[in-house]
Amino acid sequence: MKQATITAGHYCLPPYKLTNEELEERFGAKAVASVTKMSGIQCRRIASEEITATDLAYTAANRMLESLNIDPATVDGLIFASQTPDHPIPPSSSILHHRLGLGKACFTLDISIGCPAFPYACSVAESLIATEKCSKVLVLMADVVSRYVNANDRSLAALHGDGAAALLLEATDREYGFKGFRFGAESSGWEHIVVPAGGARLACSPDTALEKNVEPGVTRNAQQLAMNGPAVFQFSISEIPNAVDQALHELELTLDDIDLVILHQANRTMLELIYKRLRVPPAKQFYFIEEVGNLAAASSPVTLLEAMRRGKIEPHSTTMVVSFGNGLNWGVSIHKWGDQIESLNSASFEYASG
């Protein structure tokens, strides 16, 4: 069995910044203050109408490949994790495969998953590499959740941003790379994060497009994202610490073996509670939410890459990424870094068309 390791990464964010000041004009200062107090988010990156998740993912992947002088034809696997595809049919991975100029002998797959994307997508890539079906896999994780958020839904408009991350996973004979994955699902709560209409169960119609005022400051229609915040919050602070403990136990590791714990960046208060329950010391914590918001599928990989960019990840160190959210699903991944970390290249992380 081959080992699979992350050898490169890059991320891309849309340039437009939705600030708290702008939200205050929409919802009032008091309402925004309560969201900020809970979430710690001051600013979100929002994609304009012409920018999709594949645009952001393409930019991140293309910049990464170009900076490393990697011939796209040598990439033999592409996984695209997102819940905001370009079209219902075909898979967006096919669009990205074509646009990136990858070769015909290439595994391509969409994974329809949002916030928990990182461990799920990386584990599929790792399996392809371990079983020698692929040797060089692009793992792209991107979402433009803002498309599904009503601009007048204070509870969600203040939380979510858009973004993409690209990772390159390759085979290695060395002892570093992914050391394990664990997954779980509390699927009885699938309705807690939902876009009710637009799929085969409930087609879009004039009725589903009708906006309703759910509560003061929260307006949406059935084609837009709805979240039961208290239920998701409790799921996260109850289930995730247990899941991490269980994963470490099964992989015969302890927190002492982990140098950095990256959590899905949903909400600063929630993350603080999870870190506290896990007894993760501050030196092993990392936050990247204040400037970008919750990036859904891109959240964990962008946070990992930002930690790398800020020098928080050393050669030979071990990071644990814990991603959770819609489904309600979660995943834990552990990765040991090699001698040299091909971190973010010097290219801008901001999206630019063309």
Partner: protein, 80 residues
């Protein structure tokens, strides 16, 4: 913790003008209601030793629901 103390925690977290609301009054009907403050309340209840289980967190509508959880967990030392 007494019921009054618990109610005061809820009122403060929810940024309600005062704790003078009936136990069965839906939070949504109280002036100043803000769904985000429900999350702040859950955190404050955690800090006070009351953990609302996941399956109940999304169903909290009023103070009675919170008393019920508190009773189940034995964190109330006085219930009028």
């Amino acid at each position: 913790m007494t019921t009054d103390e618990l109610k005061q925690i809820v009122a403060d977290s929810m940024a309600f003008p005062d704790a003078d609301f009936a136990n069965d009054t839906p939070f949504r009907e109280i002036a100043g209601y803000d769904s985000v403050n429900m999350l702040i309340m859950l955190v404050d209840l955690e800090d006070a030793g009351l953990h609302i289980p996941t399956e109940k967190a999304g169903q909290i509508q009023n103070f009675e629901n919170i008393i019920a959880a508190a009773k189940e967990q034995g964190v109330l030392d006085h219930t009028p």
